[in-house]
């Protein structure tokens, strides 16, 4: 068991470390600009200058604390959008690319059931998810101490812990596209488009009569501002995300087990 997971996971390590370095640099820049921004600009006044929908879309509540600043400048964008899109894309291409370039033929020649192959491959995405989520809080913690701005360690850890179910859910969405569409470019683009559309639906409909539509979006269940600024951890939401991910992986496995490869 798990041979394919180990094999796949090993080959995600290098890319994951590179990604963690990139994200750490981004976090470093945000931390670096924060003290001077805060000293020379009234950030809450700046915030008030943004149109209301934008503030809602990014869950902006305050920019005058490091937690508020980070949740807007780093987490809402890099985690909720970019990292979410990345996992969806990576999951979609994982299957679709392997089918398209013929690698899947040899994987399937192994005495392994398709659902196991798919699940183990999907789980390899835990490598980038965990590596990046392990490195970034350390960088932020050290950086915050360096610029002498207080930040709740607990909230910082939780914003990363609770991002894992969110990212597993966006990856599972990508996985379904990867098994449904035979052209990998199409699978990847549609997965990206859907995850981004779900983000937009949820963020733009918040506070309107159609806010219920946002319930279908994974972003609804991972609120970085609530965690970082208010210290509110929604475990139910995390469970909903995990269950959704599990269901989507099962659906993807069922589809993949029945379809022709090549």
């Amino acid at each position: 068991m798990l041979e394919l997971f180990q094999y796949g996971a090993r080959h995600r390590v290098r890319g994951s470390v590179a990604m963690a370095v990139g994200v750490a640099l981004l976090a470093g820049i945000v931390l670096w600009i924060y003290p001077s921004m805060q000293a020379s600009v009234n950030l809450d006044q700046l915030m008030a200058a943004y149109p209301e929908p934008v503030l809602k879309a990014f869950g902006v509540e305050t920019l005058s604390t490091l937690a508020g600043f980070l949740s807007v400048e780093l987490y809402s964008f890099a985690w909720v959008i970019l990292f979410g899109l990345y996992t969806a894309y990576a999951a979609a291409s994982m299957v679709a690319d392997a089918v398209e370039d013929g690698r899947m033929d040899l994987w399937l020649s192994l005495p392994i059931r398709r659902r196991r192959l798919l699940t183990e491959q999907y789980l390899t995405l835990l490598v980038p998810i965990l590596v990046v989520n392990a490195v970034t809080p350390v960088v932020i913690y050290a950086g915050a101490a360096l610029v002498n701005e207080p930040i709740s360690t607990r909230n910082l850890v939780m914003v990363h812990v609770l991002s894992v179910p969110y990212l597993l859910a966006t990856a599972a969405i990508g996985l379904v596209f990867g098994v449904v569409f035979t052209r990998s470019a199409l699978a990847e683009r549609l997965a990206l488009a859907l995850v981004f559309a779900l983000f937009l639906i949820q963020s733009l409909l918040t506070g309107t009569d159609y806010a219920w539509a946002g319930l279908v979006s994974p972003t609804h269940y991972y609120d970085v501002t609530a965690i970082l600024v208010h210290g509110e951890y929604d475990y139910t939401a995390a469970v909903i995300l995990l269950v959704t991910a599990a269901v989507l992986v099962a659906v993807a496995a069922a589809i993949f087990s029945r379809r022709d490869v090549g």
Binding site: Y7, R103, L106, L108, S109, L110, S257, V261
Partner: protein, 316 residues
């Protein structure tokens, strides 16, 4: 028990019937060639046997497992090796890592002797390997778990002539060990040396299944005679003669091109080529009437036999 049993196997892609009600069996211990031009449906059958695609109708069994039953097929795959037409491996891994994965999942009982035999590159990433080197890795992974049945799609494509010979010897040795081999090809020369029987596929349908020897016998001889006197085309019209062609040899033209003409060549005034499937004595009686400079009788290339199946068109 048959190693492979295909019954009424049909794969319909809507606009294309890639396999049309195919039925045949491959006996245990047999080396079986699956022939046909590109696009005949060979790969479709192979992919069905591996469970990569599902039959539209009919089915097939490999080592007793129905290809439509994933659980049974997965169990059978422990004893099956597979070499796709253009094996694709993860580009970033080394040969060693790749074989480690295959070994961990399906076993590596025979890895060492195979590494000695094929010497695939193990330490370089696969993206740096040539087609031939990738093919070697493909061969090693197909046989490393000591399978009872090996299915190969165009296995000698990408191998240099030396490797091809080595491959032929290897297949013969595998057969000695009792391994059943099912291999497709559109190059007939490689099949006749290693296969016991062949099936010929054309446009998704089975044209014939027979022993290679029978195919060769039926295919007859290619005869080429060159005479120092004109050959009468009518004299070559008798039973067993096919595709006879007679033409006069123009030495002026040859001399102009080549600059000179070798010894006996200068005497040749007429040349005839034909395919002959009749009694060889009858042919000799006929040709003995001429003052011959040269006579060649050789086995017809299987390509010619192919042409007959396809009514003279390779792309039929």
């Amino acid at each position: 028990m048959a190693a492979i049993s295909v019954s009424s196997l049909t794969k319909d892609y809507g606009d294309l019937r890639a396999n049309d009600s195919l039925s045949f069996e491959v006996e245990s211990g047999e080396v079986f060639g699956y022939l046909g031009p590109n696009g005949a449906g060979k790969t479709t059958t192979i992919r069905t046997l591996l469970g990569l695609i599902r039959p539209t109708d009919g089915t097939a069994e490999v080592l007793g497992a129905d290809v439509r039953d994933e659980a049974a097929l997965v169990e059978a795959k422990r004893r099956i090796g597979y070499l796709p037409a253009n094996p694709a491996f993860d580009e970033g891994v080394t040969g060693r890592e790749l074989l480690d994965l295959h070994g961990a999942v399906k076993g590596a009982d025979r890895l060492e002797p195979l590494l000695d035999r094929f010497a695939p590159p193990l330490t370089r990433p696969i993206r740096q390997l040539s087609t031939g080197e990738v093919q070697k890795l493909g061969l090693v992974q197909a046989f490393m778990h000591d399978p009872d049945l090996v299915i190969m799609d165009e296995p000698t494509s990408g191998l240099d002539p030396l490797m091809q010979r080595s491959f032929n010897e290897f297949i013969a040795a595998e057969q000695e060990r009792g391994t059943t081999v099912f291999m497709s090809s559109h190059v007939l020369g490689e099949v006749r040396r290693v296969c016991d029987r062949v099936a010929v596929l054309r446009a998704g349908r089975l044209v014939t299944i027979e022993a290679v020897e029978n195919l060769l016998r039926r295919s007859g001889k290619t005869v080429r005679l060159r005479a120092a006197e004109p050959i009468d085309p009518a004299a070559l019209e008798f039973d067993g003669v096919h595709d006879a062609e007679v033409h006069a040899v123009d030495h002026d033209g040859e001399a102009d091109e080549g600059g000179f003409v070798f010894g006996g060549e200068a005497r040749i005034v007429s040349e005839a080529t034909l395919t002959y499937t009749g009694d060889i004595n009858r042919l000799l009686d006929v040709v003995a009437a001429y003052d011959l400079v040269d006579l060649e009788v050789e086995e017809a290339p299987l390509e010619d036999v192919f042409m007959r199946f396809y009514g003279g068109r390779h792309d039929a």
